[in-house]
């Protein structure tokens, strides 16, 4: 028993890189998750655009009260719609209508319009809570016995629905994560299989160039990844009524772009990791880091500023952006231009790096 114990320990310790990843992966993942969720005591302030058409004392007081809990930015209605609808930088914009102060002070119920992006469901809920809080505090200041002088009217800027289901909020992120997990692992391990089966040397001397063979291997993984993602989303669509957007073509296009990046990422992992033992923790680290940074597990709005600043450099951000546009905002093919372009560029760069790594390691030189 001791002999086996010592032998196994020796084998484990011999692969220094695997050991490093073994230690490093949990540290990196835990640090990212902790940073995302618990980076500051108060948490990041939500940006709330305010359209102050009232310009009266009550609106001013409301803005002040809101400012305690959110990052309130006053702007015109056109600008607010742009921020919510096109840029998705805020879950909602609050419109204080003209004459609101007058009515409020006369004890009449005032109607506030909320221009919403239901795709940001969690943050939208926060805005509604903030409004409720604002109403209570304002009422308490004026007359402790008076409450509920505000009526809320919601107007969805990004789709036809006022709200989205819990499934619709969670299916895109988790589906992308599982596809990422499966494709990166399978691609990286599949390339190691060739090494273990001894077939790699045979492939390297075949007249069909090794790069083409690599692309063939990746192609098989790509097809399997696309099928997996389609099945996951179709399951969500038929069983949980998750929307797939207005264009199935757009959905397939985005799916292909996402899986393409995942496959290229798997190639890079296989190109860096020299053994199976290195591949496993490295794949896990990559999947978890990209999931956390890209907002697959939680809305990016809850993450600290630095994380949001780097998020455009993470492909999962673009994958989620595209998928949210389809599933939660009911958008179509036109909305896919930006995320799909970003994903394809990302994938091409990773593919070039991966091929380079493989060629350097296995070239005839």
């Amino acid at each position: 028993m001791v002999a086996v114990f010592l032998k196994d320990l020796r084998i484990i310790l011999r692969d220094r890189w695997a050991l490093l990843f073994f230690i490093l992966v949990p540290i990196v993942v835990i640090s990212i998750i902790a940073s995302a969720l618990f980076d500051s005591d108060e948490g990041p302030k939500l940006m709330v655009p305010v359209v102050n058409e009232d310009q009266g004392p009550v609106a001013t007081a409301f803005v002040k009260l809101l400012g305690k809990h959110a990052d309130v930015v006053e702007m015109s209605r056109v600008e607010a719609e742009h921020v919510v609808r096109d840029q998705n930088r805020a879950p909602a914009a609050i419109v204080f209508p003209e004459g609101m102060s007058k009515g409020y002070l006369q004890g009449k119920t005032s109607q506030i319009t909320l221009l919403t992006d239901p795709a940001q469901a969690v943050d939208l809920q926060t805005v509604k809570v903030l409004l409720l809080l604002m109403d209570k505090e304002a009422a308490a200041l004026a007359d402790p016995l008076e409450e509920d002088r505000i009526a809320l009217q919601e107007q969805n800027l990004t789709g036809n629905r006022i709200s989205v289901t819990s499934f619709e909020q969670n299916v895109p992120g988790f589906s992308i994560m599982f596809v990422l997990l499966a494709v990166v692992f399978a691609t990286a391990m599949g390339l190691h299989d060739e090494r273990d089966w001894g077939t790699l040397p045979r492939l390297l001397v075949a007249p069909a160039g090794f790069t083409w063979q690599l692309l063939g291997k990746l192609g098989a993984r790509f097809v399997m990844g696309v099928i997996q993602m389609l099945v996951l989303f179709l399951w969500g669509h038929f069983v949980f009524k998750v929307s797939l957007g207005t264009s199935f073509t757009a959905f397939v296009l985005l799916t292909c772009a996402v899986v393409f990046v995942c496959v290229a990422l798997g190639l890079v992992v296989a190109g860096i990791a020299r053994t199976r033992e290195q591949t496993q923790p490295m794949s896990l680290a990559v999947v978890m880091a990209f999931s956390a940074l890209g907002g697959l597990w939680w809305p990016q709005s809850i993450t600290p500023d630095w994380m949001r600043d780097i998020s455009p450099a993470v492909f999962t951000t673009w994958a989620m952006r595209g998928m949210n546009d389809l599933v939660l905002r009911d958008r179509g093919l036109a909305a896919m231009a930006e995320p799909v372009t970003a994903l394809l560029l990302y994938g091409l760069v990773l593919l070039a790096i991966g091929i380079r790594l493989f060629r350097t390691r296995h070239s005839a030189r």
Partner: protein, 352 residues
């Protein structure tokens, strides 16, 4: 052609260059005029010129120059670590030479790598198969990989299966094959593309006798079809039985090259007297000085005495006091490739 020397000429040149002294044994069998970069004539299946390969400063191959004729089985014989596989890897285009050149049917293995690859195929020493595919699926894949046209593919696969006698197991997963069957399929995968030059790297290592016979038959059949075979082995009998010509390699050099009779002619002796004694002999050192004995080896109760005049030496041995009443068996045989190998390298392949 300055560098394309073969057969008897090569042997004669080697004799002239190296003589038989131990100090010259590391010289390459063929010394090539340096500085020529002429393409070999296309009739040669393979020409290597001063091939060298270093790994981290250690020279694994130290200037190998060979010419293999089309349609011959050319053996590279040598102990493990002699540089056989590295030489084969350079020819197969798997690795590039640190120095020197090689041409496969006139195609340079570095400068014209794709053309060279289309003309050859290799069965690596380690099995290179997909265990979760069937034998037939493996062959079909390698046929496609080498661009065998669809119309020909089925026939080529069937021929390869038949060639390695695996037709009856073609639909079984490779993971269910025995070790010998896998080695045969490994060979089949190298044949399915219809190469003109096949590189076989120790194809019978760890193979059961039955599979070994199948492999030999497949190799001989290839020769009848005009396929050129470069066959590395450290089994003397295999090299002797199969190969038209043999290059003996040691420590990265070709130390001898020729047909089996030509190699045997390199020996200082022509016969081996084997004396089996009742028990391990003692005080037999004196036998070395018996007139006509050129060398002696002792291995337990077995004495081997190398000579050129066995019929004269035997009576003298019989009268030696150290052997009186101890001999239980006498065998006289002509000198073998093994003898040559030991003479040239100072090593016994059986020790490997």
């Amino acid at each position: 052609m300055g560098h394309a020397l073969a057969g008897g000429r090569a042997l004669a040149l080697r004799r002239a260059l190296t003589g038989r002294s131990a100090s010259r044994k590391r010289s390459p069998a063929l010394t090539i005029a340096q500085g020529t970069d002429r393409r070999p004539e296309v009739s040669a299946a393979l020409v290597t010129k001063n091939l060298r390969r270093s790994y981290d400063g250690r020279e694994a191959v130290r200037g190998v120059s060979l010419e293999v004729n089309e349609g011959e089985i050319f053996g590279i014989l040598g102990p493990n670590g002699a540089g056989k596989t590295t030489t084969l890897s350079m020819i197969s285009t798997r690795i590039w030479p640190t120095e020197g050149d090689a041409w496969v049917f006139g195609k340079h293995v570095v400068k014209d790598v794709h053309a060279a690859r289309r003309l050859l195929n290799v069965a690596p020493q380690e099995e290179a198969l997909y265990p979760t595919l069937t034998g037939q699926e493996n062959l079909e894949f390698f046929a496609r990989l080498y661009g065998v046209p669809k119309a020909e593919r089925a026939r080529r696969v069937a021929d390869a299966l038949e060639g390695v006698e695996l037709t009856s197991r073609k639909d079984d997963l490779v993971q269910s094959y025995s070790g010998g069957m896998r080695r045969r399929l490994n060979l089949g995968c190298a044949l399915v593309s219809g190469p003109r030059l096949v590189l076989l790297d120790e194809p019978t290592v760890g193979v059961d006798p039955q599979s070994r016979v199948h492999i030999f038959e497949a190799v001989r059949k290839l020769r009848t079809q005009g396929v050129t075979i470069l066959y590395t082995t450290h089994y003397l009998a295999e090299a002797e039985d199969l190969c038209d010509r043999i290059a003996i390699m040691d420590e990265g050099n070709v130390v001898a090259l020729g047909t089996v009779p030509e190699l045997l002619g390199l020996s200082k002796t022509s016969e081996v007297i084997e004396l089996r004694l009742r028990q391990p002999a003692q005080r037999v050192e004196g036998l070395q000085s018996v007139d006509g004995v050129q060398r002696m080896e002792q291995s337990g109760p077995l004495l081997r005495l190398y000579t050129s005049r066995a019929e004269e030496v035997l009576p003298r041995l019989w009268n030696q006091p150290a052997l009186q009443g101890k001999i239980v068996q006498v065998r006289v045989s002509p000198v073998s490739l093994e003898t040559i190998f030991i003479e040239l390298t100072g090593k016994d392949l059986r020790d490997e």
